[in-house]
Amino acid sequence: MMRIEGLTFAYPEEKLALSDVSFEIRAGEKIVLLGANGCGKSTLLKILNGLIFPRSGKYLFRDHRITKRTLKGRGLHRDFRSSVVLLFQRPDAMLFNPTVYDEIAFGPRQLGMDGVEQRVADWSEEFGLTDLLRREPFSLSGGEKQKVCLASLLALEPDVLLLDEPTANLDPRTTGWLVDLLQDLTLTTVVATHNLSLAAELGERTLLLSEDHRLTYDGPLTHLLGDRERLLEANLLHRHRHRHEGLEHRHYHTHDWS
């Protein structure tokens, strides 16, 4: 479904973000994109969403090469934008409509879908947003904004959902809700996170980006979790001192530190 071949990306200031990355994603896969902060996870998601384009290498979606030029083609643009959606790390970036209702209806209206009202009603009920439909999105809490963004994206009935650190700004209850939702979704998902403790809940296959921006692991998460050296090298594991009633010791941790 999606194929990345020998992809290298650098920002204009010559800051390398991805180096010679290759992988393939099949329909229905649940991928966890792991890596420490600044290793290129967000950049990779933006490339997969056709927002920025690599300096070298290829990105193919359903055998169509995705470039700035090809995405200008009306047919491919429409198909791609309705098939591959991205939940940004900062929900505020995605919200601009006057009400929650309009926010969820934005995509279906653009696609000219039938029964927009019913779709909005269904998705808002699914996400517990029915009482907020007349509210301005910017007045909502962080968790509610995240839900509105997700409902807005899923109302398009996409095939691929990309999520950039989706739990970074959520409270524990909303994090639990999101994990359940992602497990129930049947579409292809790619979730970027540096939170190892949540990774197992978000997917089975892991892509690991190193701090030198290379893909250093592609395989089952269970194998990766047993590879302490690799996790240490990727800066996903840390150790620090503990004190328990006068006793001091050090051991490794995989818990989140954000």
Binding site: L51, R81, V85, F88, A93, M94, Q110
Partner: protein
């Protein structure tokens, strides 16, 4: 030292450009600036043109309309205004490419602080703006309508303004916490926060 000299030349040039009212002298200024720009002249001119185009177009159209309506339109005044605005923008972008502003202002600790704060804020806001634009592009199955663009612009501006206000309070408090303001009666001293 070199950066400081360039900064001084820039300041003199900017002040001179605002005091000269002769179109030919201003044109000569621009010619000199273009020669100093060397190979980068075209790129700088394009950047300066983009920077002033919208705002100056609004001013020029309003002036032209009002001038024609009142019967006192002056083409030479409009040309002078246009040239001056473009020259000031050109000089600024030329300076930006020629010097390291941090080195140029290193002689003053206060100016260096102000520049660091302003620069870090500008970088943050540039990144945010890029993110907001990408989010709209990502969500747009077809070209957004003009109403969508207006709404998006308004939402972005509202968010950035709120963030700027919030950050200014946070930064002031952080600086106060680190002992930056020795006298709390000075402007920018510890902030009373109702929250």
């Amino acid at each position: 030292m070199r950066d400081r000299v360039w900064l001084a030349v820039y300041l003199v040039a900017v002040i001179s450009a605002t005091m000269v009212h002769d179109l030919r002298i201003l044109a000569a200024f621009l010619l000199v600036a273009a020669i100093v720009g060397g190979r980068e002249t075209l790129a700088i001119a394009r950047r300066a043109g983009q920077a002033v185009l919208f705002f100056h177009a609004v001013v020029a159209i309003s002036y032209t309309a009002l001038g024609l309506f009142q019967g006192n339109f002056s083409a030479s005044f409009l040309a002078l205004l246009t040239l001056r605005v473009f020259l000031l923008a050109f000089l600024t972008f030329l300076l930006q490419r020629r010097i390291n502003l941090f080195r140029a202002l290193a002689f003053s600790q206060t100016l260096a602080y102000v520049l660091t704060l302003a620069y870090s804020q500008a970088m943050t806001f540039r990144r945010l703006l890029g993110e907001f634009r990408m989010a709209l592009r990502s969500r747009s199955v077809r070209r957004p309508r003009i109403a969508d663009l207006y709404r998006h612009g308004a939402a972005t501006a509202t968010f950035l303004l709120g963030k700027a206000l919030h950050d200014s309070v946070e930064i002031t408090q952080a600086m106060a916490s680190r002992g930056f303001f020795s006298d709390s009666r000075e402007p920018g001293g510890p902030v009373d926060d109702a929250d």
